[in-house]
Symmetry: C2
Subunit: 446 residues, 2 copies
């Protein structure tokens, strides 16, 4: 083997992912060096918590508790930020960029909240930010979007981007259990955090949707413009009915152009979605992620893999380090810049204007004429009904409606979101309607 150059790396944040990067770099270090012609050398591994620096396959001289030591080192051109959070991580990342260093991060929250500021800092300092690990863990979806599919416009990107929610929905589906029960088990097994809000309320998926949308459409779409709904209101009862109707329930991130024109607005939304049970994403189970990318040239593609976890995420972090290493070797740090703004489609459509199909589950009194009353409200709003399903009153058990109330399911044809929500608000004011109506959007993506 010819003599290889060496890239000094400073890793800040030795949590689960940070330790995974250290371990996996050590595992395949010679192989990676042979492939790249550059050796990835961990010059510093930093964490303020001493206990996290134990039992790592690096010399003790590498371990440090003060991030300043790492940032100050002029012989470290690349910083790996694996701190998590949006406060100290932001400070570290901007500090590194302001010194002209290249940063590799897995921090989707930070990018979603402060992406514009971070990308601007990278550009201003002729530096760069790599963030493959921020979306869908080990799946090289960022590289695919901006390199593999560089020839394409992206009329549609959608997928399962949060493993915790997918794990919970998959188990609710397979075992007919309630959200709360499965969440508790997921927490016990380490698939959900003690405070699961960021996952189950859709925030994490919204971070990833915002990053993907911005990359795909060449303007910063903004987290505040990403519509988000979590999965807490999805019941096993709705999953059961959906299944009877031929659908699976998945939490999806959906990024869609309204039409094929260059000025079309973009929809960026995260919500539980009914998809046909034979759809390829319906078979993405457990903690896995799956993303469908429709390009105007390449057509329909799909990527599947582990969306989280120390190993999968470190595969992506190391791939970014490899890109950074090759760029530094070539003297071209910004070969593919952190973010390229172009002018297409520079507007996000509000959820009010989104068009979708819908599943409505009403809880009504078993009384003649109820369907007609509801249908009248929908008809007056020009919302067209695809089918109505009246179920037997279910046994009264937790998670099911009371047994003296009858569930009534309406499947709607395509309608505007605002119109549907307004109509449902009106329906819920009808005296025969006994509980808040459940609304789940329905997509078949054809």
């Amino acid at each position: 083997m010819e003599k290889v150059q060496q890239l000094n790396i400073g890793l800040i944040g030795a949590g689960v992912v940070g330790r995974g990067v250290v371990r996996n770099l050590a595992r395949n270090t010679d192989l990676i060096a042979e492939r790249l012609g550059v050796r990835l050398n961990l010059k510093w591994v930093c964490d303020k918590d001493k206990s996290r620096l134990k039992n790592l396959p690096v010399p003790a001289s590498v371990l440090v508790r003060d991030a300043k030591v790492v940032l100050d080192d002029p012989n470290v051109p690349v910083i790996v930020e694996l701190l998590g959070g949006t406060s100290f991580a932001r400070t570290v990342l901007l500090d590194a960029l302001n010194r002209g260093k290249v940063v590799v991060t897995a921090n989707k929250a930070l990018l979603a909240h402060h992406g514009e500021e971070i990308f601007a800092a990278a550009a201003r300092n002729s530096a760069n930010v790599f963030y493959e690990a921020s979306v869908c863990g080990g799946i090289p979806i960022i590289k695919a979007l901006r390199e593999g599919f560089v020839a394409n416009r992206f009329p549609l990107i959608y997928g399962i981007v949060n493993g915790t929610c997918n794990y919970i929905l998959s188990r609710m589906t397979a075992e007919g259990k309630d959200f709360d029960e499965v969440l508790a088990e997921a927490q016990k097994l380490g698939y959900a955090e003690a405070d699961p809000s960021l996952d189950v309320d859709g925030g994490d998926s919204a971070h990833k949707a915002t990053i993907l949308a911005s990359l795909a459409h060449g303007f910063w779409t903004g987290l505040e413009n990403t519509y988000v709904e979590g999965i807490r209101h999805v019941t096993k009862y709705d999953i059961e009915i959906a299944s009877e109707l031929g659908y699976a329930v998945k939490l999806l991130a959906i990024i869609k152009t309204a039409d094929a024109s260059d000025s079309a607005p973009i929809e960026v939304r995260v919500h539980p979605t009914l998809i046909p049970r034979d759809h390829v994403l319906a078979s993405v189970g457990g903690a896995f992620n799956g993303v469908v990318v429709r390009g105007d040239v390449v057509g329909e593609t799909m990527f599947y893999g582990r969306g989280a976890g120390a190993d999968a995420t470190s595969s992506a972090v190391i791939a970014d380090l490899a890109d950074a290493a090759l760029n530094l070797k070539c003297g071209s740090v910004q070969r593919v810049p952190a973010f390229v703004a172009h002018r297409l489609n520079a507007r996000v459509r509000t959820i009010d204007d989104v068009e979708s199909r819908y599943y409505l589950r009403l809880t009504v009194e078993d009384w003649p004429g109820v369907i007609a009353k509801v249908a009248k409200v929908l008809g007056d709003a020009d919302i067209s009904i695809a089918s109505v399903l009246q179920r037997e009153a279910p046994e009264s058990k937790p998670g099911h409606p009371p047994s003296d109330h009858v569930p009534l399911i309406f499947m709607l044809h395509v309608a505007k979101d605002r119109a549907v929500r307004d109509a449902v608000a009106e329906i819920d004011r009808l005296p025969v309607v006994k509980d808040k109506t459940i609304i789940i959007r329905v997509e078949n993506f054809d």
Copy 2:
């Protein structure tokens, strides 16, 4: 938009894919320039057949019939070879490399047959060859393997890499039709060539398997070491029985390390395979491709998309042009070289030593003691039987065995390929066995 540089490209071969590249480059040319900061400029579009140069969205001055004009142009640093075949294409490609030009190709046959020579020429001339479009059309699988998954060893890669075979098998399965009937229809619809041998005999899949195996394992595995079986001998009858047993029949390319050691041999094989019907690849239908990549760091991943066709393939060709353009802009043509040899696992295992499970369909006389006779041959060879299925004699109709003969299905536990084939040869010499036994390998990839 800042002023962008321009990359002059000479495209040679204006067939289906070549014309697709011209059309799609024109379609998204401004967008691609904005993303790259380099404009991809088709300086020449060349084909010796004048009719192929008609109706293309380029000025007439760009069209030329003599490849020498393109190769001789010192202002064209990048050649796109889309001629197909291994003769003139090889000459053009080597000529371009010897002039230090970068080549982009979709030619899997050429690479599989002459890869070593071509990669050596690229290295010798400080040039480069990009070939994303040679494997799985628009799916960025080459980029994923050598960039996205650079941190990984690859214990297992397998998938559907030939759309024609997958189309035929999918239709045989869905419609219960025979191979010949579906092939004829596929030819009529343009899903199969007039001479379908390269596809249906597995040769095209073997080309792709050889390229993927060589890339993944860092040595030239050699087409002659890729075991290949096509799909002509797969009957609708076997598909039907497989389905009853819970399996789908797919033509797979399989690249597998025998064990986790660095010196483990590699299996590179293409053959019809029974996979569990709920396996993700079982749902890859029609002309689509799907590849599963198992990395020792990233875990299980899957890529899915159109494996052929003008548009999908040109998406990959244009992505390669983009990479070439960025490299030239940075003055680093070999940033990711055409091929990096490293020393892991430098041996291909022969099919004789491959271990698999097996489906055997015997055609026997309906006579007491037949199962015992067959079981004895298998037992003497230390091959262990998982289950035996004796079917009713089927109605005699085309594609089914004669009705006075009884089909007898053996599912075998893991055994060595050579041992199974030898045992089956012996079984086929038993007087009670009335036709050649059908052998299909069975994998569940767990």
